[in-house]
């Protein structure tokens, strides 16, 4: 055990008693560093999770560019663009929430996260509306899939990739909103302080990552052709 000064030892006990500090860390700063590193490693694996689907997309689009362009015409361009703006704005409020947490402004933290959650739910609602539109238009790659143009097989492949990419992204959004709900719950109880708020920081990192995934999905799926509905 490294030498701990009297003052540090006191704050160690205090922090453990407040359930902020886990006992196997020397202090809150070390714990925050470790948890942040863990989050970044997790996010690197998440990049690979989406990476497999993105690589599949790159290979198929390279092989069948015309079919992908024709498929992209059926995307709801306005909905996709609006959703991009919504997610970027939600990310802004999450960043502001972390800023508030670092300064110990608890009320601002709760409100900024609540706004982000609301925007996240708006995103999911618009995404749901888009899915409904694809369903009505028979663009869901099942037996009911209908395609009037040439190369129906590979246009359907575009929709397979579309539903997997946006579907897994939407699941990440649902998880993100749920995590923010938990953070809001504990923030309202006054759990977070300028010294201890690494759950807020990690939730924010996750949220920004999901935002980045969408930043790439938007041009990949909505901006393939030059004619938008």
């Amino acid at each position: 055990m490294p030498e701990i000064s009297q003052a540090a030892a006191l704050s160690f006990r205090e922090a453990v008693d407040r359930k902020s500090l886990h006992e196997h860390y020397a202090n809150l700063s070390q714990q925050a560093d470790a948890s942040k590193l863990g989050m970044w490693i997790f996010l690197a694996t998440e990049v690979m999770f989406f990476g497999g689907m993105i690589t599949g997309y790159v290979a198929y689009r390279n092989a069948y560019p015309a079919a992908f362009e024709a498929g992209s015409v059926h995307m709801l361009f306005l909905a996709g663009t609006l959703n991009t703006a919504i997610l970027i704005t939600a990310s802004l409020f999450v960043a502001l929430a972390v800023h508030a947490a670092r300064q110990g402004r608890n009320k601002a933290l709760v409100w900024f996260l609540a706004i982000s959650m609301f925007l996240g739910i708006c995103f999911l609602a618009i995404k749901g509306y888009e899915y409904y539109d694809h369903y009505v238009e028979h663009k869901v790659p099942t037996r009911s899939f209908q395609w009037d143009g040439p190369d129906a097989r590979h246009a359907e492949m575009f929709f397979v990739l579309y539903f997997f990419l946006t579907g897994f992204h939407a699941i990440h959004m649902i998880v993100g909103v749920s995590i923010l709900a938990v953070i809001v719950y504990f923030a309202r109880k006054g759990r977070y302080t300028p010294e201890y708020h690494n759950p807020v920081e990690n939730a924010a990192l996750y949220w920004h990552f999901v935002d980045i995934v969408w930043i790439f999905l938007y041009p990949m799926l909505y901006l393939v052709g030059h004619t938008h509905v």
Partner: protein, 100 residues
């Protein structure tokens, strides 16, 4: 721990730039730049992702080298995956395989 960090002004400024880039990429998509359309869309998306990682995720203010390593590693892994896969698909007609 990150000693210095961005303030509200920086965050709002980055948000404004991100919104402008979103408008730009949406607008440019209406113009047919042939093969360059994809390149432009990809470059704008990368710039936006870079801004989010650098400022919203605080990488700019990060002193811990291990965090930097993981951020870079994530990008390197993805690049490797796509490059090696496409290296195969793009050269199938070019490189002769003996016996095929």
């Amino acid at each position: 721990m990150s000693a210095k960090a961005a303030g509200t002004k920086t965050y709002v400024l980055i948000w404004a730039v991100l919104m402008c880039l979103t408008g730009l990429t949406a607008g440019v998509s209406f113009i047919d730049l042939h093969r360059w359309s994809t390149v432009v869309a990809f470059l704008i998306a990368t710039a936006k992702a870079g801004l989010v990682v650098t400022f919203f995720m605080h990488l700019w203010y990060e002193k811990e080298k291990t965090i930097w390593i993981w951020a870079v590693v994530a990008a390197v892994w993805l690049t490797l995956l796509i490059t090696l896969t496409m290296g195969d698909y793009l050269t199938r007609g070019v490189i002769r395989v003996p016996g095929k």
